[in-house]
């Protein structure tokens, strides 16, 4: 069986409000903290949707669009950089599981 790339795995996720161009992010990340005082940049390793990435210079970037609401970053970040919330049903993103 062919192994899937993350982009293909995420392509199977049924996201809410996918047609909306403007969504209200449900997670706010203060990447200034990630890029200044954080000693481990844990979220860039543990996020199952790779919403947290580290570029070649070691800078952390965040995007919310692929988030599958698993909560891993909420527990992983002990630096106070991740302000986690549930997506707003109307104007947020987030998931609608077909199987769950």
């Amino acid at each position: 069986m062919k192994l899937l790339k993350l982009s293909e795995q995420l392509g199977l996720v049924n996201y809410r409000n996918q047609a909306k161009s403007e969504i209200k992010p449900h997670i706010i990340v203060d990447t200034d903290i990630c890029n200044s005082t954080c000693p481990h940049k844990c979220t860039t390793w543990v996020c199952p949707a790779n919403c947290y990435t580290m570029d070649e210079t070691g800078q952390v970037h965040f995007q919310v669009e692929d988030c599958i609401e698993c909560g891993t970053c909420m527990y992983a970040c002990d630096q106070g950089a991740v302000d986690w919330n549930y997506p707003d049903p109307e104007i947020g993103r987030g998931v609608n599981w077909n199987f769950g």
Partner: protein, 441 residues
């Protein structure tokens, strides 16, 4: 207040729905609030619902033509894995065909939705068919407190009032933290992330491959090579025409060993045994869910306060002590006990801690807290390097020798075992492990 509910249940997962069922049956006026489009839309688990509590909520659920569950477990397997081999403890018994079953595999988007339909039936049959509700697509922003007692909830501009609130919001327990029952930061050291794929097969292929009969099913846990050196383990459960295949991986280890969960999942899937098992399947969903290891250090200090009870994973009620990953059954039982406490509180018309503290007593006397307390050492043991890596390698090494037939004199098994132990650990290490395991299991 005319519109005041006796209770607001936050969350339409297993804990919240179990609570709602008991409330409806006991004519408690309640509202269950779910943030997804329907109960289950936002929920993910491995997942096997262990135990027989489901029969308390839905009597004779096994008689339903198309119930919300996938398969019942009558075949269990624990597999040790190294790079090339798998060595399994395998137990299958027709004893497990008897109802009520002792474990059913579920897919939450379907199961929770089905259970929520059963709760609605109970509401319709209660004294408050028009006054109790399951409300979906609503996100609770805040639990309203007055003098530190819960009086309702806030969602957007709207406020709803109630004498009590059962928080069953799941592991991402923002409201539990808001009301002060859990610290703002929970150390990540005892948390893991669960990821899984749903892989679809032709149903007859699936049934033949896993030797399933009717709605029988299999659960398989994996330890060793599966996680590529990361603390955790793997699982495989059979659904109707899909399997749930996934891993649970320690956050601290992923960070320190600089690995990404989806890469480890592909590593697991590339193992020769797994590759053979999933051949020809098609991945139809990828999902994830953070979980606690069952270490009591991540649990909230208390499960109640004035007007509030915590149930399910909101209280980080989950444990894997080596036999099974238990979470949904804890959610179900804690939801039932929370609701029974609310029923008492309503009878006394006292929703303060004075009455609600009996929830703590019920929990402490239940198998949940007895097991969590009793198996803490087993949880710690399971997460040691010896148990995670050395033992699986040793077991597979021994297996390879034991099952190899060469046209030359065969050494005695104990010599093979001694050799395997020497290559992967030491006798002393294993003796210590044996003593610890003997005490903790």
């Amino acid at each position: 207040m005319e519109d005041k509910f006796d209770c607001i249940v936050i969350g339409g997962g297993v804990a919240g729905l179990a609570a709602a069922m008991i409330l409806a049956r006991n004519n408690v006026k309640f509202m269950l609030i779910e943030r997804g489009e329907f109960a289950g839309a936002k929920n993910v688990s491995g997942g096997v619902l262990w135990g027989s509590d489901l029969a308390k909520l839905v009597p004779n659920y096994w008689k339903e033509e198309d119930g919300g569950w996938e398969r019942y477990i009558n075949h269990r397997r624990l597999t040790f894995m190294d790079e090339q081999s798998t060595f399994s403890l395998d137990f299958k018994s027709s004893h497990f065909n008897e109802t009520p079953y002792t474990g059913v595999v579920v897919l939450r988007s379907k199961f929770d939705n089905w259970l929520s339909g059963k709760v609605q039936e109970a509401i319709d049959a209660s004294e408050y068919p028009m006054d109790s509700f399951i409300a979906t697509d609503i996100k609770v922003d805040e639990v309203l407190l007055e003098h530190d007692k819960a009086v309702g909830i806030k969602t957007g501009e709207d406020e709803f009032y109630a004498d009590s609130v059962i928080i069953a919001e799941g592991v991402n327990n923002l409201l539990t933290r808001q009301v002060g029952l859990q610290d703002k930061y929970v150390p990540a050291d005892h948390m893991l992330t669960g990821i899984k794929e749903i892989i679809r097969f032709d149903q007859s292929v699936l049934e033949d491959r896993f030797q399933l009969n009717g709605l029988s099913g299999m659960s398989n846990e994996f330890v060793g090579w599966a996680t590529n050196g990361i603390e955790g383990g793997g699982f495989l459960y059979t659904n109707r025409d899909t399997i749930s295949l996934g891993l649970v991986l320690g956050l601290k280890d992923l960070r320190e060993k600089q690995q990404k969960p989806y890469d480890v999942l592909n590593h697991f899937k590339s193992h020769p045994t797994i590759a053979d098992t999933i051949k020809g399947g098609e991945v139809v969903e990828y999902s994830a869910h953070v979980v606690s290891s069952g270490d009591s250090r991540v649990m909230p200090k208390q499960l109640y306060k004035d007007g509030i009870l915590l149930a399910g994973e909101a209280a980080n009620l989950l444990m894997n002590a080596g036999k099974a990953i238990q979470g949904m059954d804890y959610a179900m039982r804690s939801g039932i006990l929370a609701a029974e406490t609310i029923v008492e509180a309503k009878a006394k018309n006292d929703y303060t801690s004075t009455t609600l503290k009996s929830y703590r007593t019920k929990m402490d006397e239940s198998y949940i807290m007895k097991d969590i307390r009793g198996f803490q050492n087993a949880v710690h043991l399971l997460h040691t390097d010896t148990m995670q890596h050395k033992v699986p390698n040793l077991v597979c090494d021994f297996g390879r020798q034991f099952f190899t037939i060469k046209n030359e004199p065969t050494p005695k098994s104990r010599q093979m075992l001694r050799g395997a132990i020497k290559r992967h650990a030491s006798l002393w290490e294993l003796a210590k492990l044996g003593i610890k395991a003997g005490k903790s299991l």
